[in-house]
């Protein structure tokens, strides 16, 4: 029952345990049953009976079964069960009574209220499958496997998903703590052949003002312009993300910001990466350098800054992933009837696919934490 952590950095593929899993003095014995979603209310009820805890509530929003996680200090997370998309994360960031503020940007399509874009989502692409199917395999058909809660300060839910022919088993664990939110993915290769994966956990973080949006902590890391991985929840599609911004900038007419060409690697030499203009970058070790003896690792965490808006900083910690994706919409943010600015960022393993041999497991996680209190 007690699970200790160990991280081996010796393998080329780092195996990392789930974040924030510690030895506890009690064990939860729940039967992890897959609940078929036939009639929403009855399945919600059965979910609630099997998995409901203090701080874990199964609700229905816009016809989609979701679960709401909350902890004692008021922080809460809304997670959609159909596609494992976190649609809302409201940590307590101010000391006043109702001091929770929404961190994530989500957009609801007008014609189809059940489709939501934005939030925090997991992208997992099985590259070896694209030969048969023309469309990449999207993660869907999530089932709740297990939940855990210590009634006060920690809540955890585990979702499972398998791909069509049973060769891949994916587990997605979302844990909520008073000052942080951890999302971890564990991929198990249950098939006979090695599988190549590209993966990312992308978060769309809301910024109150476009002007002072920046990222701190990526100095010294090399980057290149690169589109994000394609996903069902990305507000900007890969093609849109790479398009240069066509809004007239400043008072000097159309002065083009120097958009680096895709494939050209440069080293970030600013302490702060300003995100006022449109960009789409991957911060990583350039693939040709990865075979070298010793490579300079990208930073393990970075902070988002909203200097003129909410003045809140959020630290995003990457574990197990190799690269960091950073995208900012520029003037595209206004397109979807929103005045709010946002950035799309998160850890990824997208430049070089991860090779997973049969019977092997790959773990990776992202933690968003803040010390604004």
């Amino acid at each position: 029952m007690a699970s200790l952590l160990s991280a081996h950095l010796s393998n080329p593929k780092p195996l990392l345990p789930l974040p924030l899993i510690r030895a506890t003095s009690y064990s939860i014995s729940t039967n992890a049953t897959a609940v078929p979603a036939q009639s929403p209310t009855s399945s919600l009820q059965s979910l609630e009976e099997t998995f409901g805890r203090k701080g874990i509530k199964f609700i229905e929003s816009n016809g989609i079964p979701s679960v709401e996680l909350s902890v004692r200090n008021g922080s809460s997370v809304n997670l959609r069960l159909s596609d494992a998309l976190i649609t809302s994360y409201k940590p307590k960031v101010f000391w006043k009574d109702d001091g929770c503020k929404e961190v994530l940007r989500t957009i609801q399509a007008v014609e189809d209220p059940s489709s939501v874009k934005g939030g925090i989502g997991l992208i997992l692409n099985d590259l070896s499958k694209t030969t048969n199917n023309s469309s990449p395999w999207y993660l869907s058909e999530w089932v709740v496997k297990d939940t855990d809660s210590d009634s006060f300060d920690a809540v955890q839910i585990e979702l499972g998903c398998t791909n069509g022919n049973g060769t891949l088993e994916v587990t997605y664990v979302i844990s909520l703590y008073p000052l942080s939110l951890a999302t971890a993915v564990i991929v198990n290769n249950t098939g006979p052949k090695p599988i190549e994966l590209t993966s990312a956990i992308l978060s769309h973080i809301k910024m109150d003002k476009r002007d002072g949006t920046a990222i701190d902590g990526l100095i010294g890391c090399s980057y290149c312009a690169h589109p994000p991985l394609d996903s069902s929840f990305g507000i900007l599609s890969p093609v849109e993300a790479m398009k240069p911004d066509d809004e007239p900038s400043g008072w000097f007419g159309s002065s083009k910001p120097d958009a680096p060409k895709a494939g050209v690697w440069t080293v970030e030499d600013n302490q702060y990466t300003f995100l006022k203009n449109k960009l789409s970058r991957v911060y990583a070790v350039p693939p040709p350098e990865r075979s070298k003896r010793m490579r300079r690792t990208p930073p393990s965490n970075y902070t988002t800054i909203d200097k003129h808006g909410s003045k809140l900083n959020f630290r995003i910690i990457r574990m197990g992933f190799e690269d960091i994706y950073l995208g900012s919409p520029g003037s595209f943010a206004k397109r979807n009837n929103g005045e709010d600015y946002f950035i799309c960022t998160g850890p990824a393993s997208m430049m070089v696919p991860v090779v997973l041999n049969p019977e092997e497991e790959w773990r990776a996680a992202q933690v968003i934490e803040h010390d604004n209190l």
Binding site: R22, G220, R295, R296
Partner: protein, 187 residues
């Protein structure tokens, strides 16, 4: 290696509990004579260090200019208890402080602002690092260091007074940043 069991999930109750972590430098690290890989166990209660040498019989070919490889371990562990390591490479012959600042590795912590440290003079005592491994590459302690670090553990050094190797040295160094703030123990 501990495998996480899925049927029971534990939750974070305390920020630190007994955990074993391994940190190993890149496997292909080549020294002059052979390949060496370290496995260092960090255990907050008991600590042990185990060194496994896997020497290859074939002589290593010279790979480029001589550099020294560094593993900088942050004072804060990652949320899952594993050490937060940054790998860097630099030429020998420089002061450790210069290497760390150039490669954007946190050295001063809260004293990084302009007037809070002496900027390499050896007078403020804020650039303390702990040398986990690779001490043989470093210059001996200067009198200034001995003065500042009189009551501190023997492995601690002042980065602004420590010169790492010579211009043509190769080697590997594991440095713990901000040892006064670290939450884990090394042997």
């Amino acid at each position: 290696m501990v495998v996480h069991q899925f049927n029971s999930l534990g939750l974070l109750l305390l920020p630190q509990t007994t955990k074993k972590c391994h940190i190993r430098l890149s496997q292909n690290l080549k020294l002059g004579e052979g390949r060496k890989s370290y496995a260092i166990n960090i255990d907050s209660q008991t600590s042990s260090i185990s060194e496994t040498t896997a020497t290859t019989t074939t002589p290593d070919t010279d790979e480029g200019p001589p550099v020294i490889d560094f593993a900088f371990v942050n004072s804060r562990l990652l949320p899952d208890g594993s050490p937060d390591v940054q790998y860097r490479s630099a030429c020998g012959g420089q002061k450790l402080r210069d290497i760390m600042l150039e490669n954007h590795v946190e050295l001063y912590g809260p004293y990084a602002r302009p007037l809070l440290n002496c900027g390499g003079g050896g007078t403020c005592g804020t650039c303390i690092v702990e040398v986990i491994d690779g001490n043989q590459l470093l210059s001996p302690k200067t009198p200034k260091e001995k003065e500042k670090l009189k009551k501190k553990p023997k492995k601690w050094r002042l980065a602004c007074q420590t010169v790492v190797g010579k211009e043509d040295s190769r080697g590997e160094l594991i440095i713990q940043q901000l040892p006064e703030w670290k939450l884990h123990e090394w042997e």
